[in-house]
């Protein structure tokens, strides 16, 4: 018996990519469960607990959506960059820079605490996008100008961003010596459903905020950009064959910088949404690795902006669960397993895998 891999000539059915993604997730949970069992955990019980705490009630589901919101942004950020095969793995740093720039508006402060929320919030959004965009520009420019590998630069810049934010929250903006900034004035808070609990009693304690709407708008815009716009076509063409793109007169260097800036701006927006929608201050704990998880979100969604929403909800749930489940690395391990099985499953889209017995009978299926 041996495994034979043969190039696929026919097309896969339309539902196959989705089926493969679901299969990869299920397999990752099974393998993760087995590892968890081996170290003495109770996977079945924990899984039930996981479902109850993330999808079991409206407040629980609202918490899941709150965690999914920044993931939608970082997932979109990676989708845009990966479409051009620009491996931006610096969404985490871009998120921190976006958060810092947005916080700058109220902490510097550029606006007074009395300014209308409808001025402050858009201003913070712009600052967040500019912050992330600048942070995407650096690796983009280095790639375009000096051909420096963007994987390494984006990753290294993550560490730089952490230290940068650390300096400000430990020093300049420290709230009475604590390692965080003071709480923002209410005009820098994104509206939450719980704010309207007086009118609608059902909203009491529901932390879902306006960010989720902004995220959905971002999905529509990115979808339009990638599948309808001329720029999206350039991105796709460069991603598939840069030589053909150059031959067709597409500005490659300009697009390298641009795509990383757009990607950075989306990640920066995630940071802005977190500080204004959830924690209301600048601190180290604004992200449990949203930027890195965005890589997996994008890949699991097969670089489809609409699918990013669904995948983000799943991973949002995973992040909620990881706060409760010990040991802490389980969620990260699951993420790794999911990504790993996803890319392994891609072999089925390009090849037929057959189990061959004595080089004659074909046993396995496609």
């Amino acid at each position: 018996m041996r495994l034979e891999i043969e190039k696929r000539v026919d097309d896969l059915p339309w539902w196959a990519p989705a089926a493969l993604s679901v299969g990869a997730v299920v397999l990752a949970f099974v393998v993760g469960g087995i590892i968890f069992k081996l170290i003495g955990g109770e996977p079945i019980r924990v899984f039930g607990f996981f479902i109850r705490n993330t999808f079991g009630s409206w407040p629980a589901f609202s918490d899941t959506l709150v965690k999914a919101t920044p993931l939608i942004f970082t997932g979109l950020a990676c989708t845009v960059a990966f479409k051009m095969k620009m491996w931006n793995i610096g969404a985490e740093g871009q998120l921190f820079m976006g958060a810092w720039f947005a916080s700058f508006v109220v902490l510097f402060p550029l606006v007074s605490p009395e300014t209308s929320r409808w001025i402050v919030i858009p201003l913070m959004m712009i600052f967040g996008m500019v912050g992330g965009g600048i942070y995407g520009f650096i690796p983009g420019w280095l790639k375009a100008r000096y051909n420096v590998n963007e994987i390494i630069t984006t990753l290294m810049l993550n560490y730089v961003a952490f230290e940068w934010v650390n300096y400000w929250i430990f020093d300049q903006w420290s709230d009475a010596g604590f390692q965080m900034s003071p709480t923002f004035a209410k005009n820098a808070w994104l509206p939450r459903l719980t704010d309207y609990a007086r009118q609608f009693r059902a909203f009491s304690g529901i932390t879902l905020h306006l960010g989720v709407i902004i995220a959905l708008i971002a999905v529509v815009i990115v979808w339009w950009l990638l599948s309808k716009s001329q720029w999206g076509f350039e991105v796709k063409l460069i991603g598939d064959n840069p030589d053909a793109a150059r031959y067709s007169g597409v500005h490659i260097k300009r697009n390298i910088i641009l795509v990383l800036m757009v990607s950075g701006a989306l990640a920066g927006l995630a940071g802005m949404i977190e500080v204004t929608g959830v924690v209301h201050r600048l601190q180290q704990q604004i992200s449990p690795g949203y930027g890195f998880t965005g890589i997996i979100v994008a890949w699991l969604a097969k670089l489809n902006p609409v699918a990013v929403i669904l995948v983000s909800i799943l991973f949002g749930a995973l992040i909620i669960a990881s706060r409760e489940i010990q040991p802490a690395g389980i969620s990260q391990m699951l993420q790794g397993l999911i990504l790993f099985f996803i890319i392994s499953s891609e072999v089925f889209t390009r090849y037929k895998v057959k189990l061959v017995r004595n080089s004659a009978a074909v046993v396995g299926a496609d």
Partner: protein, 507 residues
């Protein structure tokens, strides 16, 4: 058994299947000791597949291979090499960053862990002298000309003690004089008892060198080991193509117009930073085809690239009076310069994009495909369907990905796209390479139609026959310079062209 001993190789009832293709269908081939046996067939007829199987690279799905009277079952190229079979591939299998000696020693088991380079270099020098295959064992592959690289490939097989040599399209990259040299080498080898299988789709050279011929058409045998003496070109062509072949293309008289492309004193480096064009000048007028002949790697690719803005250069390049040197590729596209690139897979098309998308890569911003910031994919698909019918592109539909198309159909997609722009100037590099006769004919006719429409065409090719039949004027390029231009192409002296291709000035 008596008979078998005179045979170096016998392949019986070989069948090779690939997903969706029957590459070889019940094919036989016999090679006598000391003969040169031609394996003739069009591109895609399954010649290389059959030989890859003899060289141990592929395994047949059915059939037997006998070598020197022994049944063999090769599971790796190593087994084939052990039974004395060596193959020189069409695309050379050499590591450019390593030396000649290193390339020859690669994969040998009896070379020590620590390599005594001096000793091996000496051995290789001696072997090279024996067959007069002169090449410096210490040189790096990237420093060598194509002809020298071929010698390294042959030496690689001789060093392994190959008695049976498979030469896959060996003349495709050589100048006429170099081809003569190769033929002498091959004859010298048969005199020393070696047997040679010579793969080709060129009738003339097959006729002149081979003792016997086996012909394949679409994976099936049409002639098995027929003696060459009974053959003529017409008969061979019929066996190969399956119908009577016209050897001339019909070219109408055409009065050329104004100068469209004017290249003056252009120099450029290739991608390794070595000068590829040296003060090159040429002119192409509207409605004429200027052919560029030359041995591959003498600056042809770079010439096409500097004109289309893909490579930096010094000197002046004007299209209809407008300076194009060092402009962005977009400028050439906007000024009506069409480009059929040398590599249709890596440059001319994008593999995972559909036919529709591949037809719009140059005008997705132009009306009617581009609308504001958007692309009207509906109109693009409509236009692509029209092109698919007009240019007879065989594909399930216009959503088919480019990588799933055959070479001929992909080339038609590229030509359709380029012609749709109604170009003033067309740069065609190797437009028919690797295609079967049907596709070659349609591509050549499309070029002639463009010429009739008044497009200036620069045709760069390594197929001398093609150049002679299509060009109005023919220039020969050598080491980045034009060695000479033949005005009366129909009565051109091939000998003279050959000399210029190897760098001799002919007045």
């Amino acid at each position: 058994m008596e008979e078998k001993e005179a045979l170096a190789v016998e392949m019986r009832n070989i069948t090779i299947k690939f997903p969706g293709v029957l590459a070889n269908d019940n094919v036989n081939l016999t090679l006598k000791k000391g003969e040169i046996h031609a394996l003739l067939g069009e591109n895609g007829a399954g010649k290389s597949t059959l030989m890859n199987c003899l060289a141990g690279i592929n395994r047949p799905n059915a059939g037997e291979i006998w070598v020197d009277g022994q049944l063999q079952s090769f599971s790796s190229p190593k087994d084939a090499i052990k039974s004395g079979i060596g193959m020189v591939h069409q695309h050379f299998m050499l590591v450019p960053t390593q030396t000649v000696t290193e390339n020859i020693l690669l994969g040998l088991d009896n070379v020590g862990f620590f390599m005594n380079m001096r000793k091996y270099e000496q051995e290789i020098r001696e072997l090279a002298d024996q067959y007069s295959l002169h090449v410096d064992p210490e040189a790096y592959i990237w420093q060598l000309s194509v002809g020298e690289q071929q010698r390294v490939e042959i030496l690689k097989m001789l060093y392994r003690g190959a008695n049976i040599l498979i030469m896959d399209e060996p003349t495709a990259v050589l100048a006429p004089q170099e081809i003569e040299g190769l033929m002498d080498t091959l004859r010298a080898m048969t005199e020393r008892g070696k047997s040679i299988i010579f793969i080709s789709h060129k009738l003339n050279e097959v006729k002149s060198i081979a003792d016997r011929v086996t012909v394949l058409r679409k994976g099936k045998l049409t002639a098995e080991g027929l003696p060459m003496d009974d053959m003529d070109r017409k008969k061979l062509a019929e066996l190969m193509v399956g119908r009577t072949v016209l050897f001339t293309v019909f070219k109408e008289e055409n009065e050329p117009g104004d100068v469209v492309l004017d290249v003056q004193g252009v120099s450029a480096l290739n991608k390794r930073g070595v000068p590829a064009l040296r003060e090159l000048s040429l002119q192409v007028r509207a409605g004429e085809i200027l052919g560029i002949a030359g041995v591959s790697g003498n600056g042809q690719s770079e010439l096409a690239e500097v004109i289309t803005g893909l490579r930096e250069c010094t000197g002046s390049i004007t299209v209809n009076g407008e300076q194009m040197a060092n402009a962005h590729p977009l400028k050439a596209i906007e000024r009506g310069v069409a480009h059929i690139p040398e590599d249709r897979n890596k440059v001319g098309s994008s593999p995972n994009l559909s036919i529709t998308e591949n037809t719009i890569i140059k005008d997705y911003k132009e009306d009617p495909i581009g609308e504001g910031w958007q692309i009207n994919f509906l109109k693009a698909a409509e236009r692509a369907s029209g092109l698919k019918d007009k240019y007879d592109i065989l594909a399930p539909n216009v959503e088919t990905m480019a990588r799933k198309l055959s070479g001929g159909n992909l080339q038609k997609v590229i030509l359709a796209r380029e012609i749709t722009t109604q170009p003033k100037l067309m740069i065609a590099v190797q437009p028919t390479r690797g295609l079967d006769i049907g596709a070659i004919e349609s591509i050549q006719n499309l070029l002639l139609e463009q010429r009739k429409n008044g497009t200036a065409i620069l045709l760069i090719s390594e197929e001398l026959d093609e150049l002679v039949s299509l060009s109005d004027r023919l220039s020969v390029i050598h080491e980045g310079k034009i060695m000479g231009t033949i005005e009366d192409v129909e009565n051109a002296n091939i000998e003279e062209i050959g000399l210029m291709m190897t760098g001799e000035k002919v007045s």
